[in-house]
């Protein structure tokens, strides 16, 4: 296993190193730079030069790269040029907000899909199925920014019972009742398409389970339909639903970027958008490298677990 690790870790490090070079060069190839963004439209070339010097952008590209790399290796992500503040703090705060939003949406999506799928299978009424199917289609088809605006118009303006956006002013933990209210609208908006996909999948999986011989046996033994669905079919359908849930979680994070804008939710999506728009090199560099590092870590962990389970892989044979 140690030999396998020694083989795999250097390639992961090489990928990270390659990514860092690419990210660094790619950002500098994009037109526009932080100095002119900071200087503003009335600036003179003299001001630009002074700002470039202050930010260290007048040094050679390799020198700037080495300085960034040194910071990364010593755990110092540096300070944002334009947004201001330590990059580590910016990322931590943005990531927390996004994860809270995505997490609550995921919970909501799972709860709704479980309730709707089980209801649809428990009570096999045509009209109920038609409503569920129609609601699912609408939830998948209508984009999050439209749902978001509609939810806000209804629940924050026409019937003002929930905040139109933003995060709880005193933090998530201070007043849970306030936090729930701030989370409701963006979470519903983000959860709708995910819950629709999960509902469709789970309903079909439950129906497939209900056609299996063990269900027929259970019925002949006089076990109630409700018990068959909730204790037997659901338990068997859940593992496959988890796979779909994994895929949907990815799209949930992607969708969060749009929902963050509609609900003024200062998450990682807003941070990336600001960083790119203003050419805040250190922030975008750190965020991109962080994304690559997450992928590399997941890949490496998967490989290690796979190798642990299958000796042929760690000794270099064919799996």
């Amino acid at each position: 296993m140690t030999a396998y690790l020694l083989r795999r870790v250097p390639s992961a490090v090489a990928v990270l190193f390659g990514a860092s070079v690419l990210i660094f060069l790619l950002l500098r190839a994009v037109p526009g730079d932080p100095a002119s963004t900071l200087a503003g439209p009335d600036a003179t070339p003299e001001s630009i030069a002074a700002i470039r010097h202050q930010l260290g952008l007048d040094r050679s590209v390799p020198a700037q790269y080495l300085s960034w790399l040194h910071g990364l290796l010593t755990g110092d992500l540096g300070r944002s040029y334009i947004i201001g503040g330590q990059i580590g703090d910016l990322i931590a705060r943005g990531l927390t907000n996004t994860l809270v939003l995505a997490g609550s949406s995921l919970l909501l999506a799972v709860a709704v899909s479980l309730a709707v799928s089980v209801s649809a299978v428990l009570w096999e009424w045509r009209w109920l199925n038609a409503i569920v199917a129609a609601a699912n289609t609408v939830a998948v088809a209508v984009p999050a920014f439209v749902t978001g605006v509609l939810l806000v118009l209804f629940f924050a303006i026409a019937v003002p019972i929930l905040p139109a956006g933003g995060i709880p002013p005193d933090g998530f933990a201070a007043h849970p009742d306030i936090t729930v209210q701030y989370l409701l609208l963006p979470s519903v908006c983000l959860a709708l398409p995910v819950s629709a996909a999960l509902t469709r999948f789970l309903t079909e999986a439950l129906r497939t389970e209900l056609g299996k011989p063990y269900v027929l046996t259970a019925r002949s033994l006089g076990i109630s339909h409700r018990e068959i669905v909730t204790r037997g079919a659901l338990r068997n359908a859940l593992p496959t639903m988890l796979t779909v849930l994994g895929i949907q979680s990815g799209s949930l994070l992607g969708g969060a970027v749009l929902v963050e804008a509609t609900f003024a939710w200062p998450g990682i999506g807003q941070l990336i958008e600001q960083g790119i728009n203003r050419r805040d090199y250190p922030v975008v560099q750190a965020l991109l490298l962080f994304s690559v590092a997450v992928f590399v870590a997941i890949q490496l962990t998967t490989d290690i677990v796979h190798a642990y389970l299958d000796p042929r892989i760690r000794i270099g044979g064919t799996a």
Binding site: P41, D42, A50, W125, A164, A264, N277
Partner: protein, 529 residues
């Protein structure tokens, strides 16, 4: 009741179960809502008499860029207006300086120096007393190129600082400065002890009515009342919270739902509708006008012929842009000066009134121009709408234009680098001040080096002539501004479209909101009731 497998459940039973479930959900919601977030935001009733206390919730489109604190861009004006103060302040409608941190002043008869007598009862938020040394430090910092302050050229022309008396300062100039009061109205008095933390946004120490408390980047900036403010019993408000809401629609929703008292980023159309809605007030920022214009790269082979630039100026339907894009919140101009400026001249403003025939006649004298690119920043929706109208106007007279939407960072880089291939469309400011400020401070107008690559000794002479006057107003100044306007109309390197007013929208609970000519928020007299 137990159900048999496959047996349908009764409709009544289903409805009962559904009812219980719905009741449970609503009950949980009601329990969760034991303190309503909406009620928490809305507060009490309405009353117009000044009231002490309360937190003003203020929505801004952009986050503060700490390094830009001395430029008047983005959210900077709101923060500067709360925390900092200048030496004098112009009223909205005139260029007559009023006392602020300077109580009195005497301008030397030859215009090459000014003596300012400072207030003695002013302290920084740190508790340190404000003195003439702070004025010198602030003016020198403002002149430093790294802060990219717009009136840097005027600040650089101050050559001497006599700070012998802590409550009096004598400034000596390299030459008379007609716009010296523009500078004194603009430069915020900075604290030299915390200047390094100012650029990073960690500390903002001034003498203003509100003290900086905390900044959460991308999210919120919080201020609290300065209890030692030199104006007795002011400010009324205990706290101001600036919340970053980077979407126009989200900001409108937040205002309508009572989450904000004031919003800075609502579109012109929404402001128009909001003005007709009960419970809200909208207003134009009088005295803090912006101007939308079409810039021209005069070194472009086709555009180097002034007749083509004149044809463009005649073709543009300015009234349509003002009424459709800015919903009437402005007026058409040919020269940059707004109505309150000493340089405003109705006759000169009609020089290029829309005349399609004249445009066609001018074009008939020229070879057919190639397709001209028109660059604009795609970040602001009004630029796109204005550019589309300009494109349609020019097509009508036979000039083909290709619209080039560009992201803001690239746009600014092209503007500063004078890299636009043909035309561009954007806003400029500073025309509401002493007119010479525009031509020595705003880069697109700079007589010596500008984004249009326009060079003219006559324009340089006119700009310098207006700048080096002893006073910014009066008959001599008016003559100088007329000469400057004529140079702008003849050179036509920037084709003005119209003056537009930035719009504010607020709930009627907010009273006493005010602003400076740079749109800085002045909340000294503001209260919530």
């Amino acid at each position: 009741m137990s159900s048999t497998p496959g047996a349908p459940i009764g409709r009544r039973s289903f409805l009962r179960n559904t009812g219980i479930a719905a009741f449970a959900i609503l009950g949980t919601g009601a329990l969760a809502a034991c303190t309503s977030a909406v009620n928490q935001q809305r507060g009490g009733g309405d009353n117009a008499a000044p009231v002490r206390g309360g937190t003003l919730k203020y929505g801004v489109l952009l986050d503060l860029v700490p390094a830009n604190i001395l430029t008047n861009t983005g959210t900077t004006p709101y923060v500067v207006g709360l925390v900092f103060e200048s030496l004098v302040r112009y009223p909205h409608d005139k260029l007559e300086p009023q006392p602020l941190l300077a109580e009195k002043w005497t301008l030397a008869p030859d215009g090459t120096s000014i003596t300012l007598e400072l207030r003695e009862d002013v302290k920084f938020h740190s508790g340190r007393a404000f003195t003439s040394k702070d004025v010198e430090f602030s003016l020198r910092t403002y002149a430093d190129a790294k802060w990219s302050a717009q009136l840097k050229s005027t600040a650089t022309a101050i050559t001497g600082f006599d700070t012998t008396d802590p409550h009096k300062i004598v400034l000596t100039f390299a030459h008379p400065l007609a716009n010296i009061f523009d500078l004194l109205d603009t430069v915020p008095i900075l604290d030299r002890e915390s200047i390094d933390q100012l650029g990073t946004g960690e500390k903002l120490v001034g003498t203003g009515p509100f003290r900086f408390v905390q900044r959460i980047p991308n999210s919120q900036i919080i201020f609290e009342r300065n209890p030692h403010y030199w104006v007795p019993e002011r400010p009324y408000l205990d706290r101001v919270e600036l919340t970053v809401i980077p979407d126009n629609q989200a900001q409108l929703n937040a205002l309508k739902s009572g989450q904000l008292h004031y919003a800075d980023g609502i579109t012109y159309r929404d402001v128009e509708n909001l003005g007709k809605t009960d419970g809200f007030r909208t207003f134009p920022f009088e005295g803090a006008e912006l101007q939308v214009y079409v810039g021209v790269n005069v070194q472009d082979p086709a555009l180097s012929d002034v007749r083509l630039r004149q044809a463009i100026a005649y073709a543009i339907d300015r009234e349509r842009i003002v009424s459709e894009v800015f919903r009437g919140a402005g007026y058409a101009v040919n020269v940059p000066w707004p109505k309150g400026s000493p340089a405003f001249d109705a006759a000169r403003n009609s020089r290029y009134a829309r005349d399609v025939n004249k445009a066609k006649q001018l074009l008939a004298q020229l070879p057919k121009p190639p397709k001209i690119p028109l660059t604009y920043s795609s970040t602001v929706s009004t630029y796109e709408a204005s550019a589309q109208i300009v494109q349609a106007n020019l097509a009508e007279v036979g000039i083909e234009v290709e619209l080039v939407p560009t992201d803001n960072a690239t746009f600014i880089r092209q503007l500063i680098g004078a890299q636009f291939p043909g035309l561009w469309l954007t806003d400029h400011s500073w025309a509401q001040f002493v007119p010479s400020t525009l031509t020595v401070s705003a880069y697109p107008f700079n007589a010596r080096k500008n984004a249009s690559r326009y060079e003219s000794p006559a324009y340089v002479a006119a700009a310098d002539g207006a700048w080096k006057l002893k006073q910014g107003t009066g008959s001599e100044a008016t003559q100088a501004y007329q000469a400057l306007s004529d140079q702008l109309l003849e050179g036509l390197f920037l084709i003005e479209i119209g003056v537009r007013f930035p719009q504010g929208a607020q709930t009627k609970k907010l009273h006493g909101f005010n602003w400076t000519k740079r749109r800085e928020s002045v909340l000294t007299e503001a209260f919530l009731a």
